[in-house]
Amino acid sequence: MSSKNNAYITLSTITPVYSGKDYLESLVDKLLLLRSNLEQQNAPLRLVESIFVDDESVDGSSELLAELEQKYSWLTVITLSRNYGQHAATIAGICHAASDWVVTLDEDLQHEPELIMDLFKYQALKKLDIVYAQPKQAAHGNSWRDKSSRLVKRLIAKFTSTPQILVFNSFRLIRGSIARAAASSSISSTYFDISLSWFSKSYGSIEVDLNDQRFIEHKKSGYGFVKLARHARRLIVSAELDFTLLGLVIGFCAVLGAIGIASVAVFQKFFFPAMVSADGWTSLIVVSTFFAGVTLTLLCIGLEYLHVILLNSLGRPTYFTVDRRGDKQLADWLNSSKAGS
């Protein structure tokens, strides 16, 4: 429990905005309620700012955001010069936040602000740097979107040895320093959560009620097939595919196999010529296998070098340091009876 003169642990929320006019006022009201509750409880945690990133919104959200910014001093609006997409907008918002913790949430009330404290409780329990919210049930009413999203994530997780892909969600609690480091390292083709994974493997997820009301009411998602495909492409480019090592192994085995078969064939030819049923066939197989193996091996070696260059350009760091000294104070308060009252 903080004394009144101790510095608070600060929290910022980041919300990319594209077509959220119908929901923004309610969202801000709920954020205000959370902010007030934390003050009334004299919590060591305070919601100090909410950053809304106007990603060239299409439904008049800009004007509404301008009004809200005038009304609330703790609300900041950043306007992007054109539509850059949710990841870029999230990164822009995080770069402007200076708080100890950051929560990213969507514009359409799919992510209820009151659930933020659940994310914090889980963070305190497991001592994590990143907590993802997971839907208890399909957020889009068991639509093709949810099914296809899950399938793509499963495939990519399998081929990249990045199991955390399965829990990626735009409703996340992130330690501020890690969020900023990941945001500052990300380029246009980086999937932000992959960038986060370069800085911390201390992540977890909790199941909460997440419902895309916009989709359920209007059967309209913020993402069409093309956008989802682009999303998947960004994920694949940012994650590290494990094919090159597999390719190297296969190529090398093919070369060894070809040498082995050639040895057996030569031995047969000289010592058991009667066993050779068709001339030339074995040679063809051996030569094809050998050169395919060599080509595959060389190709995978080249890809490994490209991989290093790509990781460098994507901004993956050699190392990063973190300060977790402030966590105990928040954990003690969250575990006390006063938290959430």
Binding site: A7, Y8, N42, S73, A98, S99, R180, S184, S185, I187
Partner: protein, 294 residues
């Protein structure tokens, strides 16, 4: 002279914070303070108050509402003269600063606390490696008068916290520091002249890190002390250029004109920086600054 005034979010709300000067460091402090305090009307952007001590003192006293409040925190980050200022310019600034504080103290009395942003680069200019906070070696008028500001504050009886800040960088203020100039050069291809050599070492600290430390001390109402605020990880100009190149994907257009007075390394022993929160690395800070500048 710009100032921002705030009232802290406390149960009894009797602490007023006033930031004088909204440049690189002042704007960051003001922004960070807004997380913990309610902004008050008291913002003056009137250049006439610069060097007009009575006018500024009046603005501060009004903003403080000292009779109704128990603690008035004044954060002095103001200064127009740069490293190469002459004696005359610095004397004017010092007289202005002294007059303002004397006038304010005469009204507010014991309730007044002052946080002064001073210059580690100036005060330790001739020191190469600083392992004792008292080991100051000012050379130029800028540094001598910064020391004079500190001494005046220490001897005034005002509860004071002095922050000797290493090379600050970040967004905010009219003056464009080296790192911002390099980033702008990458974008606009405008050439930048660097008055140091490639291997000159400097300790760069992000302005938000400065703000965090200063504001936390105010919130905790810590006792008067002198602090050195530096990153603890000095880098060469060459390394800085590499960081800028990586952040932007481009190279800055630069020319080197090493000036003897600027080529000395200034490094700080990490023992002087303990009990300070973790700082933003230069790589990250440059990237953040680049992205925030877009």
């Amino acid at each position: 002279m710009s100032l921002d005034a705030y009232k802290l979010f406390e149960e009894d709300s009797k602490t007023i914070c006033i930031v004088i000067g909204l440049g690189l460091v002042g704007s960051a402090i003001s922004k960070y303070l807004s997380y913990f305090a309610l902004p008050l009307p008291g913002n003056t952007s009137n250049e006439d108050t610069w060097l007009n001590a009575e006018r500024l003192a009046t603005d501060i006293i009004l903003a403080s509402d000292y009779q109704a409040n128990q603690r008035i925190e004044l954060i002095w980050t103001a200064g127009k003269a740069g490293f190469s200022a002459d004696e005359n310019e610095m004397q004017k600034e010092f007289s202005f600063y002294k007059s303002v504080l004397e006038l304010v103290q005469s009204k507010i009395g014991d309730k007044l606390n002052v946080s002064l942003i001073s210059s580690a680069g100036g005060l330790y200019e001739n020191s190469t490696f600083v392992n004792d906070i008292e080991d100051v070696s000012p050379q130029r008028p800028y540094a001598l008068y910064k020391l004079k500001q500190e001494n005046f504050l220490s001897q005034s009886g005002i509860n004071s916290r002095i922050y000797r800040v290493s090379t600050a960088y970040g967004l905010g203020g009219k003056r464009v520091g080296l790192i911002r100039a390099l980033l702008q050069s990458c974008i606009s291809r405008q050439p930048v002249t660097i008055y140091a050599s490639r291997d000159t070492l400097r300790d760069y600290i992000y302005n938000t890190d400065i703000a965090r430390f200063v504001v936390n001390n105010i919130l905790q109402n810590t006792a008067g002390c002198i602090h050195i605020l530096a990153n603890g990880r000095p880098v060469s100009i060459q390394a800085l250029l590499s960081s800028v190149g990586r952040a932007t994907g481009k190279q800055a257009v630069i020319s080197f004109l090493p000036d003897d007075s600027n080529t000395k390394n200034i490094l700080f022993h990490t023992n002087l920086l303990i009990n300070q929160p973790a700082k933003t690395s230069l790589e990250e800070g440059v990237s953040l600054l680049y992205r925030r500048s877009l």
